[in-house]
Symmetry: C2
Subunit: 227 residues, 2 copies
DNA sequence: ACTTGTCCGAATGTCAACAAAACGGAAGTG
DNA sequence: CACTTCCGTTTTGTTGACATTCGGACAAGT
């Protein structure tokens, strides 16, 4: 049984703001003004401030002295950096999961792949698929059984989520074709306990996602919603 | 010339507190009380609070709801987790540095090894050696030229610093014998542009440090300075 | 003896007012 | 016309006061 935990207004505020950003409401590059958010969430500015600090830790937001916070933008270098780091983390996570997870836990992972496949078959929309995709990786990191690794993942997870959304929003049909196969291949390697192969596959999986997104950014750069 | 940047009281407070912790003043496991720190640093509690949040992001401090912040402790699992993640990051850093850094930058890295060797030869004390050691790795991460990777390194750097200090404080003579050689070996591989070998060496380097520290913790667990 | 309930001191969480800095436009200058 | 300077507005940084929660001590009940 997972312990219930109180978290305070800052976490609540961070959750709301993150949700908003991932729905595109304050678009990439847009400023997040403290007073505005405070009145809208009906919380004090201090709490919003703390929440924004959390989002900055998650890498979803950047802030400068006396200039406030802005949503990150999917520039080529940003995308490259985030996915490169993610590759290193995912490599480690896969290796550890292959080495240390129990058979039943790995079976559960296979179940998540199945759910993803099912959702794809019944024509679920892109955000839904993405949630399942990320859920798979969340579970993978949990199976790696390393708190610090999970924290490191948290520091890139939100940017990945945001970037994948823009990737999908720009209309990348290729994604639907390969998601299930790539995840199933990784899961198979994990179940067969081929740690090194799984690690390499995880790294390559991330690298291919990175390359796909970057090609897309070069050919069709997203609208830079200033304003 | 690197631009000077204003950072605000929170960063200042975080610097002071970090420095204190790394000098052992609030020992591992000890609570960090906001009012106490606020009066001692002559800043408001809010700023201290924000500073503590930064230190939590650095992983040097853990905090719970309504229970405040405590300095992390070098438990076996903590050490294992921190060094395992560090291994993955350092592997990536070494690979990228070998691939992308200029020759002159790598030569500079060799210079840092030289400085370390010199300090060792003239019998510098352990904290001094450790500073140089970490300085080498800081530069390595800079050469990797990836902001997100540097952020991830920041999230484990302070715990590594703290743990290495306890390792030295517990009196591990082996450290002095191998520091220079290990760093020089890595630098040589980088200069020879053998990216894969450098990556493996970096990972192994970290793993050996982890194992040395963990053996030491099992045989001679550090005093759990409650109080 | 062990659990359960209540109180109290201490520490953190939250808030709203004050101070400092940055942005943008108007006025002035070459 | 380009450029700089000034100044008001807007936004963030900082502070001290108030509200909430925690942990332990102590007492009553089983």
């Amino acid at each position: 049984m997972r312990r219930a935990r109180r978290r305070g207004l800052a976490h609540e505020a961070a959750d709301r703001i993150r949700e908003s950003i991932l729905q595109g409401s304050p678009p990439p590059g847009a400023p997040l003004r403290e007073v505005d958010l405070a009145t809208r969430l009906d919380v004090s500015r201090g709490s919003v401030r703390e929440g924004l600090a959390l989002l900055e830790q998650e890498g979803l937001v950047v802030s400068q002295w006396h200039r406030g916070a802005r949503v990150i933008e999917p520039t080529p270098t940003e995308v490259d950096e985030v996915y490169t780091v993610r590759g290193a983390l995912e490599r480690l996570a896969a290796h550890r999961a292959a080495t240390r997870a129990t058979d039943s836990h790995l079976a559960e992972l296979a179940g998540l792949v199945h759910a993803l496949e099912h959702a794809l078959a019944r024509g679920a929309d892109a955000p839904e698929l993405l949630r399942l995709d990320l859920g798979f990786h969340d579970r993978l990191y949990e199976l790696a059984d390393n708190t610090r690794l999970q924290r490191a993942w948290q520091a890139v997870r939100s940017p990945v989520h945001l970037f994948q959304l823009t990737r999908i929003r720009l209309g990348h049909p290729h994604y639907r074709e390969v998601v299930v196969d790539e995840h199933r291949a990784l899961t198979d390697l994990l179940i067969r306990r081929e740690a090194e192969a799984a690690a390499r596959h995880a790294e390559a999986h991330v690298a291919s996602a990175r390359d796909a997104l970057m090609r897309m950014l070069r050919s069709r750069p997203p609208a830079t919603d200033d304003q």
